[in-house]
């Protein structure tokens, strides 16, 4: 079972809207302050990547309930240029924009499950889940 709400990412303000949505859902689900910060940070990273590299995309927040296990899933999707070498972008410090290169490897550490799919020329899909303990 899952309930979904989405924010379209086109400009910098949408990044703020996406993380506010995520924080609200995280609170609602009963996540503690540290997990709320992890989730908010992860959403901010993924939303900013969409804004910077794809120009446009979507962040959806799913409330999960799998066999009594509750969780929150971030689904970031864009139809941007895609990622050539996924292993490379998952390395700490790799950035094509003069950033810290902390975003994607960071999201993987902040969340419990992380899944990335990308094809050059057709876009990127990232799913990251945090389970309620």
């Amino acid at each position: 079972m899952s309930i979904q709400s989405c924010v379209t990412i086109i400009n910098e303000w949408d990044i703020v809207a996406a993380r506010q949505l995520g924080r609200n859902v995280a609170k609602e689900l009963g996540f503690g302050t540290v997990d709320q910060a992890r989730i908010t940070t992860a959403i901010s990273e993924l939303a900013r990547n969409i804004y910077l590299y794809a120009g446009k995309g979507q962040i959806c927040i799913d409330k999960l309930n799998d066999a009594g296990k509750a969780g929150l899933r971030i689904h970031a999707a864009d139809n941007g240029p895609g990622i050539n070498d996924i292993r490379q972008v998952m390395e700490d410090g790799f950035s094509t924009s003069g950033g810290l290169g902390a975003g994607l490897p960071g999201v993987k550490r902040l969340m419990d499950d992380f899944h990335i799919e990308s094809e050059t020329g057709s876009g990127t899909q990232i799913k990251a889940t945090k389970w309620l303990r």
Partner: protein, 118 residues
């Protein structure tokens, strides 16, 4: 919205009271450097007590403004980092290793006085 920067003796005091969007963060970077120049302040305390998350972009802006201030001759102390913020920053892989920090504003000002006294 702009972040207010207060002058206290030869120091500048900044308390960030609301969630930073990208524009506000970049504007703050510029405003702080101008203020250092204008006032010849040699120390800055940036208090983050009200901030409940910091992502890689804001961490970079903060780290950069600290380096820029140093170039101009002003030392920066960061204060009031919440537990959740410290945890997520380390998990992001951002240690802010060379940054001077203190628990709260008061201790931050003390630290700055020590640093500037040397």
């Amino acid at each position: 919205m702009r972040i207010p920067i207060l002058k206290l003796y030869d120091c500048l005091l900044v308390s960030i009271q609301w969630e930073l969007d990208d524009q506000t963060a970049l504007q703050f970077q510029e405003d702080l450097l101008h203020k250092i120049h204008e006032t010849s302040a040699n120390g800055v305390v940036i208090d983050l007590t009200s901030i409940d998350f910091i992502d890689s972009f804001i961490a970079k802006v903060l780290g950069d403004v600290i380096s820029m201030s140093k170039l101009m001759g002003a030392k920066v102390v960061i204060t009031g980092i919440q537990p959740a913020v410290a945890i997520t920053l380390i998990e992001l892989g951002i240690g802010l290793e060379d940054v001077l920090t203190a628990l709260d504003l008061e201790k931050g000002l003390e630290k700055l006085q020590q640093e500037l006294g040397d």
